[in-house]
Every structure is written in structure tokens, then in C-alpha cells.
């Protein structure tokens, strides 16, 4: 995975894992790789990998089964909420960046609708 090296790596890995959850690449209750495996998988520092899991656990997205490893939460609602949050974040960013270009939200939405109809 290519990282933006000006931003904390752990946040980028967290986002990548959340995306895997939201897109269904990973499912509720799935076992996650160990911290060490995660480090190897993403080619990141092992301490960073450990931090990824501790942050995810704090958010309730993962949990640890003692001696067995880290698992994705079984709370499907949480994953749905995650999807909503991520979508909301994207929309907000879209609108904000459009605003920076001097395009009001209504126009931005119209433009998006037009783009969609052209594609269809």
C-alpha cells in the first residue's frame, strides 16, 4: 500500500481496514492478522501496527480474544454506522472543496447529478 508519508501511517491503515469492513472484504466476526502480520502485510512499523489495533479496539471496531488474537466486532450495526460515517465524511469533503473553488453547495449537487446522468 502507498502511504501519504506526511500523515500518520496508523490513521491511514485504520482507514484502509475500515474501508475493507465497509466494502465487505472483511466481515463481522472475522479474525484479523496479528500485529506482526499486519506490519508485514502493510510494510509498516510493528509499533504502528500495534497502535492501529489499539485505536480500532477503542473505537469498538475490533476486540481481542485472550490468547486467540484480534477479531472484527460482531456488531453489524456498528459496521453500518461506519459506512454512513465514511460516506458522510466524503460528502462533507466534496462540498467543502467545491466551496473553496467558489461553487455553492446547491450548484455542486447539480453538477454531481449532471455528471451522473452523462455516465448513464
Amino acid at each position: 500500500m502507498k502511504f501519504n508519508t506526511s500523515m500518520p501511517i496508523y490513521l491511514q491503515v485504520i482507514t484502509a481496514i475500515k474501508r475493507d469492513l465497509v466494502t465487505g472484504k472483511m466481515k463481522a466476526g472475522d479474525k484479523l492478522p496479528s500485529g506482526r502480520e499486519l506490519a508485514t502485510l502493510y510494510e509498516i512499523n510493528p509499533n504502528t501496527a500495534a497502535r492501529v489495533y489499539s485505536e480500532l479496539e477503542q473505537e469498538g471496531i475490533t476486540f481481542t480474544r485472550r490468547g486467540l488474537g484480534t477479531y472484527v466486532t460482531e456488531d453489524e450495526a456498528l459496521i453500518r454506522r461506519l459506512k454512513e460515517e465514511m460516506a458522510e465524511e466524503l460528502v462533507t469533503r466534496f462540498l467543502e472543496e467545491m466551496k473553496e473553488l467558489g461553487i455553492p453547495p446547491e450548484d455542486a449537487i447539480n453538477m454531481a447529478t449532471n455528471a451522473l446522468s452523462r455516465k448513464l
Binding site: S6, R36, N45, T48
Partner: protein, 234 residues
């Protein structure tokens, strides 16, 4: 764990390392950065006990560096250093003979991944293969301090991933890993700390994730600020 106090090394009138006080702690991967000739190699060689400081001292576990500390410190130099008569297998047997922490199993595993075989003569290895052999034999030691001097030099893009992976695999709570490079971005994602060295001076030690979070800076950004260029040339 490994510490230099006011260490200085002069070669004739040239000062290679100037009053460097630096502490390496277990559980972390350190990237030692700086252009060629900035003093990284000399510091590492002093830590390995190969080069004697002009003044100042090196400590391991709080004790002055000694023959005993070599049991726990693995060092890989930039230059090839094996005896001319050796095959790849001989190199492994030599390490087995002298280092209690050397694992022949891990060595053969690393050799396989690096696509080297035991019967190859070290004399006939290409520079890239030699670089891989040096890494394999060093990383096959379960040493408490691992120092790799320019491990990515002469290594093709694909094999670089094997090497960075072997570094993250070797990392552990009780181990310190110190990797030098002038290819700054290669170590960006795998290191905890960046040690910047310039003209023999220690400039600073950065916690990389922190400086990303607080200043939004990558090590490459910091490198440019310190040296005035991106580190790809020197």
C-alpha cells in the same frame, strides 16, 4: 540499551563523528539518515567495536562496550567482508561457530527468499547478491541490537520489499534495530525514529509518527529542511 556519550572519531585531521550522544532503546526501529560521509558508518562501527573512538565512550546495557557485548550486537557493514575462500554455506557455518544466537534454520529460510544457494562462492556473487547474503546472515542472528549499514544499496526494487519485511519481522520488544540509508523514503514507513546526522553532528532524533501528526511532515520533508535536498543525490 546502546548508547554513545560525547563520542568523537577523527581520522587524521578529518572529524568523522563529533561529540555525538545518542541512545538506542529496545522495541524500536531507528532510521539513521544523512548523506554519504556524514558519519553514520563510523558511528555504527564504533558501536560494533570495530572502530575505536578518539574520545568519548560507547555503552551497552550501561556498561562500557566490551568483547561480551559483541554477543548481542549484530552489525552488517556496507562492504563485503567474507573470506575469499568461502561459499554461502561456509558463511553460515562461520556465524554458527561464533554466534550463539545464530539460527541456521532462519538463515536457510532467508537464503531461499533471497534466491541464494549454499553452494555459491562468495567471490563470484554479484553486488546485489552479496548485499542479500550479508543481510541474510546478519538477520539470522537473534541479536538484541541489529545494525544494518545501507542494506538497500545495490538491491533492486523488488528485493527491497523482502528486506524491509525481514526488518519488520525481526523487530521485537526486547530488540533495537538501527538501519542507515541515504534512500530516505525506503525507511519511512517501517521506522519509529529518524536520526539525522550531518557532518558528524547529531542534528535530531524525531519520532516519525509524531512529527507526521503534529507538523504534518514526512521524514523526506525533514530531510530536505536539514540537508537542503531530497537525499536521492548527495
Amino acid at each position: 540499551m546502546l548508547e554513545s556519550r560525547n563520542i568523537t572519531k577523527k581520522f587524521g585531521s578529518k572529524i568523522a563523528v563529533d561529540q555525538v550522544t545518542l541512545k538506542i532503546e529496545p522495541g524500536y526501529i531507528y532510521a539513521m539518515l544523512g548523506p554519504n560521509g556524514s558519519g553514520k558508518t563510523t558511528w555504527m562501527k564504533m558501536a560494533a567495536g570495530l572502530v575505536k573512538p578518539t574520545s568519548g565512550e560507547m555503552f551497552f546495557d550501561g556498561e562500557p562496550l566490551s568483547v561480551e557485548s559483541r554477543r548481542h550486537i549484530a552489525y552488517m557493514s556496507t562492504e563485503p567482508y567474507f573470506y575469499a575462500w568461502m561459499t554461502v554455506g561456509d558463511v553460515g557455518r562461520y556465524y554458527k561457530d561464533f554466534f550463539e544466537d545464530f539460527s541456521p534454520a532462519r538463515f536457510s529460510d532467508l537464503l531461499r527468499r533471497m534466491e541464494l544457494t549454499e553452494d555459491l562462492k562468495t567471490k563470484s556473487l554479484s553486488s546485489g547478491m552479496m548485499a542479500k547474503l550479508k543481510i541474510a546472515v546478519t538477520m539470522a542472528r537473534d541479536a538484541r541490537v541489529i545494525m544494518l549499514d545501507e542494506p538497500l544499496n545495490g538491491i533492486d526494487l523488488l528485493a527491497r520489499e523482502d528486506i524491509t519485511r525481514s526488518i519488520t519481522e525481526a523487530a521485537g520488544e526486547d530488540k533495537a534495530i538501527l538501519v542507515s540509508s541515504h534512500l530516505v523514503d525506503e525507511l519511512e514507513t517501517i521506522s519509529d525514529y529518524a536520526i539525522f546526522i550531518k557532518n558528524g553532528h547529531l542534528i535530531e532524533v524525531d519520532n516519525i509518527e509524531e512529527s507526521r501528526a503534529e507538523a504534518g511532515k514526512s521524514i523526506v520533508d525533514r530531510y530536505r529542511e536539514i540537508y537542503g535536498h531530497g537525499g536521492q543525490e548527495w
